[in-house]
Amino acid sequence: MNALLVAPVVWPLATAALLVLLQGRLSIQRTLSTASAAAQLALAVILLARVATEGILVVQFGGWDAPFGISFVADHLAAVMVLVNGIMGTAVAVYALRDLDADRERLGYHPMFHVLLAGVNGAFLTGDLFNLYVWFELLLIASFVLLTLGNRREQLEGGIKYVAANLVASMLLLTGIGLLYGATGTLNMADLALKLPLVPAGLATTLAMLFLVAFGIKAAIFPLFFWLPASYHTPPVAISALFGGMLTKVGVYALLRGFTLLFVADVALTHGLLAWIAGITMVVGVLGAASQTEFRKILSFHIVSQIGYMVMGLAFFTPLGIGGAVFYMVHNIFAKANLFLIAGIARWYGGSFELKKLGGLYRHRPLLAVLFVIAAFSLAGFPPLSGFWAKLVVIRAGFEVQAWPLVAVALFVGLLTLYSMTKIWLAAFWSPLPEGVTLRAGPAPALLYAPVVALALLTLAMGFASAPFFALAERIGAELTDPTGYVLAVLGEAAAAAFVAQGVAP
């Protein structure tokens, strides 16, 4: 059981170490890299199954009990996110086999990729705030390298913006952690949940703002998102897809964790603020997308917009809202990453990401058209695809707390999302081929199609058979809105009871 909880981090790290030692042997690297990603996915499936049957799993590293050592905690949310990361990792690893050039592989793509997966998993699983910072840095530096791998001018220019914003975020995060440690004397998140109520509420809420900004930069919320549309369209498609699907969601995850477990002293303020941010983020992102004419730039701005929906679910701070936010997040990871991958195939055929230079794909590549429609219409929230249920739940959650304006904004943004998805459809798929452009002959490699088909099937499954997914989302919503289970699992009954006795209920 413990191995299962450690594996999502140690497995890819060990893989990365091995890949470094195998430097230069590209074919072995490719095989090992892909196989390892798949194995990690399998482990993540088992982990989620165990969490679903046995409840929250905890590992205390080195055998030192919480809050003294570092704990890894797999509640339903963490386990689901690790699984999603496993799926994305495998999909992208397969896609990259055909998408990535040998030069970038020689520059260290494979080990960096696995370090990134490890960092993401670490951030999901850790139960320690400083350790979260370390995993954040790990996934950040790996993403820096992947983003600039190949040294194209666009990559360097986008890269500096990405690096700059995220380094500032790291500084703010560490500042917040240092101050929080000074105020509570602890770093373990469960322990913090118990000790934060002892800190003056005003101070706790003020410190929460530092985390809001730090996590918010990583999640790309308004007004902190600029680095994302400035950079996500520059690296190779496989990397874009992983970033666009997975990476910003780590920030959302951190917001979800932080603003349910830790910063709940002044919900009216913090979550009210989140609601405002959510609304503005949605609108600004979708309008940004509407003004773009490049496939991946449209997708990048959309990431921002959809982060707004997830934050909106969190802002409602009800089981339904948070469960909805998580469902939305998972749906969005699959659909969004898939659209990036599809953009790559469209480029494979048409030779460009510019909508003006694309066309004829509906006529000549119907399979790609179907795959695009599934992902794009899901993103736009059409039933019965996954995006519809995601939207429905957050809207229902909004009705429950009577947040009418936000619901109205969310619905309107849905229409604008449809606008930019159909914009791509009209230009790249329905329009005739522009003068002088020819589609590359022959079907694109199966290795490019396979992950796209797999992700499309997941989108369909989440749409047509959403009940099991909602069952999970429901449990996550319940777990996050009542963190007692989390705290007890990490600290043990006795330690928690001692605090209850002090009159500080978990």
Binding site: V20, L21, F61, G62
Partner: protein, 136 residues
């Protein structure tokens, strides 16, 4: 930068620094030192050599590419953590073996092994930084 004085003084300094670095690594568990500090000292020595004699010479002296040091270091640290699990405990749990050599005790442990991994990575990383910049 490749002055004669620098060149003649560098060799002995480097030897001393390397010895100090190993010393700092090994005593780290009980006194100030450890993998980071030891590794940084060793790396500083190598950097000094690279600045004095050029990157190529430093790479020749080193014989191992920095990437491999990094890879082996990471692998060592991970294995040190895994040993705890092999023993049926949690990941990164410390295991200790005390070997008596004459009247001296030598403590071998997984935390020490872990620190050796850290040492290797730090040396490899700093060398990579300096060599990459020096090479150009």
């Amino acid at each position: 930068m490749k002055s004669l004085i620098l060149r003649t003084t560098t060799r002995p300094i480097i030897v001393v620094l390397l010895l100090i670095s190993v010393f700092l690594l090994l005593r780290g568990h009980d006194l100030p030192g450890g993998g980071f500090i030891g590794g940084l000292v060793a790396a500083a020595a190598a950097a000094l050599y690279a600045i004095a004699f050029g990157a190529d010479a430093a790479a020749r002296l080193l014989r191992v590419r920095p990437e491999l040091l990094v890879g082996w270091g990471m692998a060592t640290a991970v294995v040190a953590g895994l040993l705890g699990m092999v023993a049926g405990r949690e990941f990164l749990t410390g295991l200790w073996w005390v070997i008596a050599v004459g009247d001296q005790e030598i403590k071998l442990s997984t935390p020490l092994l872990f620190d050796v991994g850290v040492y290797l990575v730090v040396v490899g990383v700093v060398l990579r930084f300096v060599l990459s910049l020096e090479e150009r």
